[in-house]
């Protein structure tokens, strides 16, 4: 029974990682109605940027916020330079561009920063292991950061004029233009915010999994699953979904099928849930009457 509790705690700790990245995915979805497959790679690049600054002696929190700002600019620039030219192309072409972006960012990161495993510092140091050593102070701290980001995102989207405009631009760009919203800038802003949130996620994940260019490769799939499980249009759903995937995966691996099929079974369960509830556990079903 002790084992079960430990598996759940470990799952929650890993789930925190998924939750952070799920949130970034939902964020860009809210703002652009796209899911950016290069999100993980971009977050890794951001984390490397932060790592370089910290290595150069810049204090953690300065590097943290500077990285968020840089990532925001990179995200917005990517939208302007890469997405803008194909905005009228079919959706599948957009996916093609995402794949190109994934290749470029993923390969360039290793080329620039090297491939060795690196230690990324945490601002939440503690000598005492918590919960039998399964959870570190960092994991608690990063969960708190995730929740803080979630609240900020929620407030931004629900209660600011800009947040509302961004949602409107994503849902219905044509109508958004008619009320005077500069849709192009909203998309760039959305990409910027998503990249910034991705950077936060990357910097929170890296101390746990260690930093290398492939750090996000697997995480992105789990995060994607978490986001869809929770409901792609619901930031809090995504966070819950991320935690759920972490726990589910551990329990499947430890008690159901063994570790070799852990991912397979977890994904099968998620797809099963989605078949029953196609817009996710907490997703909003858009009703419309004609």
């Amino acid at each position: 029974m002790d084992g079960l509790a430990h598996q759940i705690v470990a799952g929650i700790a890993t789930g925190g990682i998924y939750a952070a990245v799920s949130l970034a995915l939902v964020m860009i979805y809210q703002a652009t109605h796209h899911v950016n497959f290069a999100q993980g790679e971009m977050a890794t690049l951001s984390t490397f940027i932060a790592w370089s600054m910290i290595e150069a002696g810049i204090p953690y929190w300065v590097a943290f916020f500077a990285t968020i700002a840089i990532s925001f600019v990179i995200g917005a620039a990517v939208e302007r330079l890469l997405m803008r030219p194909v905005q009228n192309a079919p959706v599948l072409t957009h996916v093609g561009v995402f794949i190109g972006l994934l290749l470029i960012v993923g390969n360039a990161t290793g080329w620039i920063f090297g491939y060795t495993t690196k230690l990324f510092p945490t601002p939440f140091e503690s000598d005492k292991p918590l919960l039998g050593g399964l959870v570190s102070a960092h994991e608690l701290g990063s969960t708190a950061v995730t929740l803080a980001v979630l609240s900020l995102v929620y407030l931004f989207f629900r209660h600011t004029r800009l947040g509302l405009a961004m949602r409107a631009a994503a849902y219905n760009p044509r109508s958004a233009r008619l009320v005077g919203i500069r849709v192009g800038w909203m998309l760039a802003l959305g990409w910027g915010l998503a990249a910034a949130i991705g950077a936060v996620a990357g910097m929170m994940v890296a101390p746990v999994v260690f930093l290398d260019p492939t750090m996000m490769l697997g995480i992105l799939l789990y995060a994607f699953a978490g986001a869809l499980l929770g409901g792609i249009d619901n930031p809090s759903g995504a966070v819950i979904g991320g935690f759920a995937v972490g726990v589910l995966e551990n329990l499947a691996g430890a008690y159901v099928v063994g570790t070799e099929l852990k991912l397979t079974v977890a994904l099968a369960i998620i797809i099963g849930v989605l078949v029953v509830k196609p817009s996710g556990l907490f997703g909003r079903v858009v009703m419309s009457r004609v």
């Binding site: 084992g3 060795t116 490769l217 570790t259």
Partner: protein, 402 residues
């Protein structure tokens, strides 16, 4: 039977497709001024961490060329990207052999990738030298005489751990944490070799995928199963995670780590130097970030090379010391060839290396080969982490005799 018939057919096909070009050539891929050597590596994609090996090798050949080349010939080292995908390896290898007409193939990366060309190169009798993989199937001179590995096999390494463990704790309950691929499974096979029928009773297995973010769940399972020893066949990022997590949960198994993942700079420091105290491994290389080798002449030679030929290289990346070791072996073979760089002679020399020291290998660990024994490096030494450096203990172990 089938294979023989096919080999025959391919032989004729080969002569049809490759008319004897340029009679001035003394051997394929060799001219009076040049020796062409081919290789493949993952220069793109998730496995491209290993691309630095190719970078290091290219720099070594550049140094040789600067020094006048081999027997008056410049080395033309052609390396192609296979993205670690076996079909691409076959494509690129065929390009090297049939289009670039290289003399031989050297240090291609990966087990599944080399498997895809294993038969092709042996049918065509192309030397397939010193592969960048620790699978043990490359040392099979009877069936595949043209293929030879280099580093000690993972399976042998696992056998060493299992033997040592049985000496220390005869009634152990062993946890085996491995990556679910050919690399990780070799550790399972090695332990199974030693334990035999007792394997199922004594061992609890936990695998992980290369794409898993963490391995916490696996470690929790192994601890809960009551294991008092742990052998890990995992890559550096997960190794650092495992060392830290095992320490944090207060589990104190006798822990063995694959020598793929014991670099001071990229594993032990990230994990936390004090968290790995007592960790065991069995290595054949000097670790460049280990202060013990700060004044070692061999490592000085390597650092000098890096400074001059790979100035932008990451000194903490032990793929560079690997490249230096395997590159030195290759150069030794070329020197032994004298003036005869025919494929037959290259293979003959590659399989007749008298025991020799290599700058980046541990003292006492030799590079050698005999026509009947293709295990080029067969010695390792157990080491224990003391919180600052790896302490070697016991003698050099001849792995192939285990």
């Amino acid at each position: 039977m089938r294979l023989n018939r096919r080999a025959l057919l391919l032989g004729t096909a080969g002569s049809l497709a490759l008319p004897q070009l340029a009679p001035a050539q003394e051997a394929p891929g060799v001219t009076a001024t040049e020796i062409r050597i081919g290789s493949t590596n993952a220069l793109s994609g998730p496995a491209s961490a290993y691309s630095v090996i190719t970078k290091g090798l290219a720099a070594m050949f550049r140094r040789v060329n600067d020094q006048g080349g081999i027997a008056g010939r410049q080395i033309n080292f052609i390396a192609y990207d296979d993205g670690y995908q076996p079909p691409r390896t076959l494509e690129q290898t065929r390009r090297l052999v049939e289009q670039d007409r290289v003399a031989f193939l050297f240090n291609q990366l990966g087990t599944p990738t080399n498997s895809a060309i294993h038969r092709y190169v042996n049918q065509r009798k192309i030397p397939h030298l010193f592969l960048a993989t620790g699978a043990d199937k490359w040392a099979n001179p009877r069936e595949y005489p043209w293929t030879i590995g280099w580093q000690p096999s993972y399976r042998t390494e696992a056998q060493i751990y299992a033997k040592y463990l049985l000496e220390q704790k005869p009634n152990t309950k062993l946890g085996l944490l491995y990556q679910n691929d050919d690399f990780g499974k070799d550790y399972v096979n090695g332990v199974r070799d030693v334990l035999g029928p007792r394997f199922d009773a004594m061992v609890k297995l936990a695998s992980h995928e290369a794409t898993d973010p963490t391995i916490d769940s696996q470690i929790v399972s192994l601890q809960a199963a009551g294991c008092d020893a742990l052998i890990c066949g995992i890559i550096p990022r997960f190794a650092a995670q495992a060392i830290r997590r095992v320490f944090d949960i207060g589990w104190k198994p006798m822990m063995f780590m694959t020598n793929v993942s014991v670099s001071v700079g990229t594993v032990m420091q990230p994990a936390g130097l004090e968290k790995g105290v007592g960790l065991l491994t069995s290595d054949y290389r000097k670790d460049q970030s280990d202060p013990a080798w700060a004044d070692d002449p061999g490592m000085k030679e390597w650092r000098d090379f890096m400074r001059r030929y790979v100035p932008d290289g990451e000194l903490g990346d032990n793929n560079y010391t690997y490249a230096y070791g395997v590159g030195s072996t290759m150069l030794q073979v070329l020197k032994q060839c004298g003036n005869d760089f025919s494929r037959e002679n290259v293979m003959r020399q590659a399989t007749n290396i008298a025991p020799m020291d290599i700058a980046t290998l541990l003292p006492g660990v030799k590079v050698q080969s005999q026509p009947r024994n293709y295990n080029v490096i067969r010695q390792m030494q157990l080491q224990r982490w003391n919180g600052r450096a790896w302490e070697r203990f016991g003698g050099v172990i001849e792995g192939a005799n285990v």
